[in-house]
């Protein structure tokens, strides 16, 4: 069980949106984690430096919050190691071919009403929901 957190989630979502708007305003870039990460998988993109800086900030922020306010960020990863590795590989392959993930397609692309992003988001949301139904209610994994 996790508790319903509408206010924190809405505020967090607004911050994600603010980051997307700022990255477009300053760098002219889509704030998609897939696109930003891809330039950091060797061979490195020529403009790797801002990508690495964005990544460093994204990793640092939760660490700073935990240091400042204590254990306030919930985290529970229920899947066994083997499934975690298989799922990670699938996510990496999928977002590469699909050209984006929840941040790139789901937030930035949808906000621009990009037809590719709308299709991608509908497909991965449906696929995720179907997978959760299978793992939880058919296989009974978690």
């Amino acid at each position: 069980m996790t508790t319903f957190t509408p206010l924190a989630s809405l505020a967090g979502g607004a911050l994600i949106g603010l980051a997307a708007v700022l990255l477009m305003a300053f760098h002219g870039r889509i704030a998609g984690m897939t696109g930003i990460l891809s330039g950091l998988v060797p061979p490195l993109a020529a403009d790797w430096a801002w990508r690495a800086a964005f990544l460093a900030g994204a990793i640092l922020a939760p660490a700073v919050i935990v240091i400042a306010f204590g254990d306030v960020i919930g985290f529970e990863s229920p899947m066994p190691m083997g499934w975690l590795i298989a799922g990670g590989l699938l996510v990496g392959v999928g977002v590469s071919f699909g050209g984006g993930c929840t941040s790139g397609h789901g937030v930035c692309g949808m906000a621009r009403l990009s037809p590719r992003s709308i299709v991608a988001t509908l497909v991965f949301m449906a696929s995720t929901a179907a997978t959760v139904f299978v793992t939880r209610h058919m296989i009974g994994l978690v």
Binding site: A11, G13, F54, S77, W83, L84, V93, G94, A111
Partner: protein, 147 residues
């Protein structure tokens, strides 16, 4: 240099948003998709908040001729709904549904010092490298089929 510092600041905002929203918590993500079980609708609020701010902000920002720290906007121009887009997104969903981690949630989760996030991110990076290696092979097959 200024663009690197600014990227760090924007990354901090992104990471704080992910952490606050619950997207870095795999159990919360899985519960959002578990309509038949322990459903937690919180992530709809994440999407709602993020989309509202981004849609509004983009309208203002994209009116300008160029971004503040670069010569031009880098916007995807393709409008083709092709097989890699659909198949790739479906495969991504399977991995997201298994683990509860998506790329934007997993990277900030690294900052929580959780081993599971490290295992997931390393596997995901291997998946990105694998896709890169597969791409020429798949393209070659498509050409062979077309001929």
């Amino acid at each position: 240099m200024r663009n690197i510092l600014m990227a760090l600041v924007i990354g901090l905002v992104f990471g704080a948003g992910i952490a606050l929203s619950g997207m870095a918590n795999p159990a919360k993500v899985l519960n959002f998709f578990d309509f038949a079980g322990t459903w937690d609708p919180s992530l709809a609020f994440v999407m709602g908040g993020a989309l509202a701010v981004t849609a509004l902000g983009y309208r203002l920002v994209l009116r300008r001729p160029a971004p503040l720290l670069d010569a031009a906007f880098h916007l995807p121009t393709s409008r083709r709904i092709d097989r890699p887009l659909v198949a790739g997104s479906a495969i991504f969903g399977i991995g997201w549904g298994i683990t509860g981690f998506c790329p934007g949630g997993a990277i900030p989760a690294l900052g929580l010092g959780e081993a599971d996030a490290v295992v997931f991110v390393l596997s995901m990076l291997a998946g990105i490298a694998l896709a890169r290696a597969l791409r020429p092979l798949l393209a070659g097959r498509a050409v062979a089929r077309a001929n």
